[in-house]
């Protein structure tokens, strides 16, 4: 880490915690602690709701999804506005008027205590498990950045969120979510700009969009109906509507957010903001994935993005011919992509049509090579239904580093940034892929690596399995992305509300653990 990295890291952590705590002053009653005294403005709740639904995993997984399957995943969000309208019209006024602290307290008022306890226990078990993974992911990132053991960084992460959550309550969590969401937005813009800036100089943004479209990566809406197709307009409108109804209407991690609104109107506005903003945001994230695909048209990616499995199969006899075939397929696709862009520029529709066919055929060769590598992973003791989709967005430079140096030197690559890639490394099509060769040549002189991404394989390698499943399930990606702080707050709240139960008379009193029966 360079000094600037340390400054950014520490300043971010300190400012998030400090600002959250500053905004949460006076949270000394149950009402203020759990519901912020029902004083939150709509925009804070809106961003907090968005941050609760999203996570680092969301941004990593969905870009990879777009890389391999195009943008049609965005359709999984088409039900969101429908669900939000229903929730705003029905659920929000009921929760506000019954003055409940949790979604499950309403169940007790409506049915009985046993119903509430059952729902609370299920929720706490479910979210408690997912919170472990949610805390573990950033802890691994810190572990790699700082070179500290994971247990230490996990404790560090846990201590940080516990501190500001326990001290500040829901206000601290909400305001820190707002800050984190702003950072995420900024990061997304930087990612897209970086990706486009790293394209060869002869490939314009328009060309990049055209090439992504020709490869079927801009398929934002698919109208074909199939029971086996997870993402199409029909599953999006129908399935995701119910998914989001349950998530935003019944899940305490979300309900807690909009219960803090100073009025029904403020809570409704926070949800409707998400109804309007979430689809374009997801579109934008997926578009970044499509641009990553175009980026990899000109910079050879590894045959598999998951380094742990790639390293394992590299020693096998079947791998080398497969790799040679993949290299050839990549070069073929690169040439065809450039030729297609030229034909598109020239307006030669006949040549363009021919090139499109070649381009898709070349892409198929790449896909076949990757499928063979995946099968090799599975056949040699790897995961069944192996997929490296979640590793795509972050993995490239780490693998380059591994190709170009021994394991003992890997740490050397940490701290290099994408910005260090000079424009001269992409001197246009005439460079003959010199940069790629330099990266891939075992004896070649290694140029500065685009290594802001260098955490990728290590982070995701350790999260394989659980995270992968989270990433591949549409709604589960987000539903698992709850902030650790909220989970802990909920556990604390659960002790007070679900388990011990705070009596009605104690609500405006101070927070005591013995508050209850």
């Amino acid at each position: 880490m360079r000094p600037a990295d340390w400054i950014v890291l520490i300043a971010s952590l300190v400012s998030i915690v400090a600002y959250g705590l500053y905004r949460s002053r006076g949270s000394n009653t149950v009402d203020r602690y759990l519901l912020a005294g029902r004083s939150m403005p709509w925009y804070a709740m809106a961003l907090s709701i968005m941050a609760t639904q999203a996570s680092a995993i969301t941004f990593i997984s969905t870009t990879g999804q777009s890389y391999v399957d195009g943008m049609r995943f965005v359709q999984a969000y088409f039900g969101l506005p429908l669900a939000m309208v229903v929730i705003c019209a029905t659920v929000v006024p009921v929760f506000h008027r019954t003055k409940v602290y949790t979604a499950y307290e309403y169940l007790e008022k409506r049915f009985d205590g046993k119903t509430r306890t059952l729902a609370s226990v299920i929720f706490l078990c479910q979210r408690g498990l997912s919170a472990g993974l949610t805390i573990y992911a950033p802890a691994i990132v810190l572990s790699i950045i700082l070179g500290w053991p994971e247990r230490v960084t996990t404790l560090m992460m846990g201590a940080t969120v516990v501190t500001y959550t326990v001290i500040g309550g829901i206000k601290a969590v909400t305001w820190s979510d707002v800050q984190q969401m702003c950072i995420i937005f900024l990061g997304l813009v930087v990612a897209l700009v970086t990706c486009i800036a790293l394209l060869p100089s002869s490939v314009s943004f328009g060309d990049a969009v055209y090439l992504a479209g020709a490869a079927g990566r801009l398929n934002a809406v698919t109208t074909d109906f199939s029971w086996n197709d997870r993402f199409n307009i029909w599953s999006g409108l129908l399935g995701s509507t119910f998914l989001f109804l349950s998530y935003f209407g019944c899940d305490q991690s979300q309900v807690q957010r909009y219960l803090t609104g100073r009025s029904i109107a403020q809570s409704r506005l926070s949800l409707l903001f998400n109804a309007v903003a979430k689809i374009p945001m997801q579109f934008f994230i997926l578009f970044i994935g499509a641009m990553v695909f175009v980026f990899y048209l000109f910079i050879q990616p590894p045959v598999l993005f998951q380094h742990a499995e790639l390293s394992r199969i590299q020693a096998m006899a079947d791998f080398q011919p497969m790799q040679a075939q993949y290299n050839q397929a990549f070069e073929h696709r690169r040439q065809v992509a450039l030729a297609l862009a030229e034909a598109h520029h020239a307006g030669d529709s006949e040549a363009e049509s021919r090139r499109v066919s070649e381009y898709r055929s070349a892409q198929q060769e790449i896909d076949d090579a990757r499928a063979r590598a995946s099968r090799l992973v599975e056949a040699t003791g790897g995961e069944k239904d192996f997929s490296d989709t979640n590793y795509i967005f972050l993995v490239r430079d780490a693998l380059s580093a591994h190709r170009n140096c021994g394991a003992g030197n890997r740490g050397h690559f940490r701290g290099h940034h994408v910005g260090q890639l000079g424009g001269d490394q992409f001197a246009g099509d005439g460079d003959g892929g010199g940069f790629v060769q330099a990266l891939c040549s075992p004896g070649g002189r290694r140029p500065p690596l685009p290594a802001g991404l260098s955490l990728g394989h290590a982070v995701l390698g350790r999260l394989r399995g659980g995270v992968r499943r989270m990433g591949q399930e549409a709604g589960v990606i987000d539903r698992g992305g709850e902030r650790g702080g909220l989970a802990l707050l909920r556990l604390a709240a659960g002790l007070l509300r679900a388990g011990v139960r705070v009596s009605a008379g104690s609500r405006d009193g101070h927070v005591y653990r013995h508050a209850g029966r």
Binding site: P81, M84, C88, R110, V209, Y210, G213, A214, A220, L269
Partner: protein
């Protein structure tokens, strides 16, 4: 159960009534799906 009419319902800051806001959101959904559909077709 407490009286659910206890907390008053405020009007939205725009469009006058919540019903209109909801209709606006639904129209927005139709527009955005249409835009994505056209985007898909344009680059297919």
């Amino acid at each position: 159960m407490p009286d659910l009419r206890e907390v008053p319902d405020e009007p939205p800051p725009f469009l006058g009534t919540w019903r209109r806001v909801y209709v606006g959101v639904l129209i927005y959904l139709v527009v955005i799906i249409s835009a994505f559909y056209l985007f898909t077709r344009a680059y297919r």
